[in-house]
């Protein structure tokens, strides 16, 4: 029996070695959700796939369905972001954290997630284009991806009683800013600027976001990372390895 084929646009999130010369490619597709597919012979220098299945590429792919893993049949490159990102180590590590987040937020394979796909595509494109500082792109991505998952931190109203803000204390376990009555022991006291930055990133207000300095960005990144790690069962491996130096090229 011929195995069913499907064709889709996809982002390459991760590649892993399989056997002698194959790889398992983890893809975030536009309409089929996250898919894992085998690329046969891709590590041999004669492979017809070439560089099109390297991480972070935006591709047009045809796969055949298998019982556990699908198989990559054909690939065309739409935008091979990986090539640009590899010239700049901080941006490459940032892309890795974005890809790992996308993978972790799609625990079930083949469940369509068009919004997350478009968000991830936008983030990788912005990173490759060097339009904005990598740290801001990453934190905007993480905040919005968390909001799709229903875990966006509360940044204005109290996360516990919903009393209107602004509030100064921030508690990761409570889910964001907290009013003086609800403040649990050990809550952090970030600067107003850092909270404003997070809000700007969540809302896509790049003017405000880009007017901040490195110190405020660092503070906001710390809160975003803590919030994300709290909600994921296991921490992200790539997030501590993100090189926070600003672009090197």
């Amino acid at each position: 029996m011929r195995k069913p084929l499907y064709r889709d646009h996809a982002l390459v999130l991760r590649v892993q070695r399989l056997g002698e010369a194959d790889r398992i490619i983890s893809l975030l597709t536009r309409t089929h959700g996250r898919v894992r597919a085998v690329a046969r012979g891709v590590r041999r220098t004669t492979s017809r796939f070439g560089a099109r299945l390297e991480p972070f590429g935006h591709i047009d792919v045809q796969c055949s369905e298998g019982s556990s893993l699908d198989t990559v049949m054909q690939v065309e490159g739409l935008s091979l972001f990986g090539r640009h990102l590899l010239e700049d180590y901080p941006r490459y590590t940032t892309a890795s954290a974005i890809a790992e987040t996308a993978e972790r937020l799609t625990p079930i394979e083949k469940e369509p997630t068009l919004r997350l796909y478009l968000l991830t595509l936008g983030a990788l494109n912005a990173l490759a284009e060097k339009e904005r500082p990598a740290t801001l792109i990453l934190d905007a991505y993480l905040l919005r991806a968390m909001s799709y998952a229903g875990w966006a931190p509360s940044l204005r109203a109290c996360a516990v009683c919903a009393e209107a803000g602004p509030h100064r204390a921030f508690s990761v376990p409570a889910g964001g800013v907290v009013c003086p009555n609800c403040r649990p022991p050990g809550a952090a006291h970030p600067s107003t600027d850092a909270l404003n930055l997070m809000n700007a990133l969540l809302e896509g207000d790049w003017g405000t976001a880009q007017s901040t300095d490195v110190k405020i960005r660092g503070e906001s990144s710390g809160l975003v990372a803590a919030h994300l790690q709290w909600h994921l069962e296991r921490g992200l491996r790539s997030l501590p390895l993100v090189d926070r130096r600003e672009s090197t090229t």
Partner: protein, 197 residues
């Protein structure tokens, strides 16, 4: 499932990289059918490799003494250092006969998704070798795939400010491949045509 020793062997073999359950079964039955002396030799080689082979204290290539054969060779140039991911890459480059300098084996490549960053590789050791000032050219011969390129980019970022010439193998190597799959002629050409970063 088989019983006893044969199943134990299948289980052990299937833990090796690139060996699936079917290959493990085929290998196990090959061992069972093979000549006893052949298998004794294989078993002795397996034991010896763990007992006698260690990593060179200078370059982390495989060695049978404190330093590997290449680090001990007085005829090799000290001013050129070639960085590779694994000992098998040293073998591949040696086969081309294009390089007469020294090596540094990183023990892998940067791969943030697998939790491998600069600190998990022998990069600190590389930096301390470079700080001696003997090296004038650092050749980055990591694999022409994403992890290898990321590692090369990171090393160039760290080493260029030290005033050392950093070069990368020519892009004649097909992207996406492993260095060990490149034939001698292609790899030799990539070495000859290396470009400055």
């Amino acid at each position: 499932m088989y019983e006893g020793a044969i199943q134990d062997l299948i289980d052990e073999l299937s833990r090796l990289p690139g060996i699936g359950p079917k290959s493990a079964q085929r290998l196990a039955f090959h061992v069972l059918a093979a000549d006893t002396t052949d298998i004794k030799r294989l078993s002795a080689a397996l034991t010896r490799v763990k007992e006698e082979v260690r990593f060179c204290v200078l370059c982390f290539n495989v060695a049978e003494e404190e330093k590997c054969r290449i680090c001990r060779d007085p005829r090799r140039r000290d001013d050129a250092l070639c960085v590779v991911e694994e000992p098998k890459d040293v073998v591949a480059i040696e086969r081309t006969g294009e390089f007469r300098g020294r090596y540094h084996v990183l023990g892998g490549a940067i791969n943030p998704l697998e939790g491998v960053g600069p600190d998990q590789l022998r990069i600190r050791e590389l930096m301390s070798r470079l700080s001696s000032g003997e090296t004038s050219e650092l050749i980055l011969a990591t694999d022409p795939n994403t992890e290898g390129e990321a590692t090369a980019t990171y090393l160039a970022l760290m080493v260029k400010p030290m005033g050392i010439t950093v070069t990368r193998l020519a892009s004649g190597l097909p992207v996406g491949g492993d260095l060990e799959y490149a034939d001698e002629i292609t790899l030799g050409r990539a070495f000859e045509g290396r470009r400055k970063l």
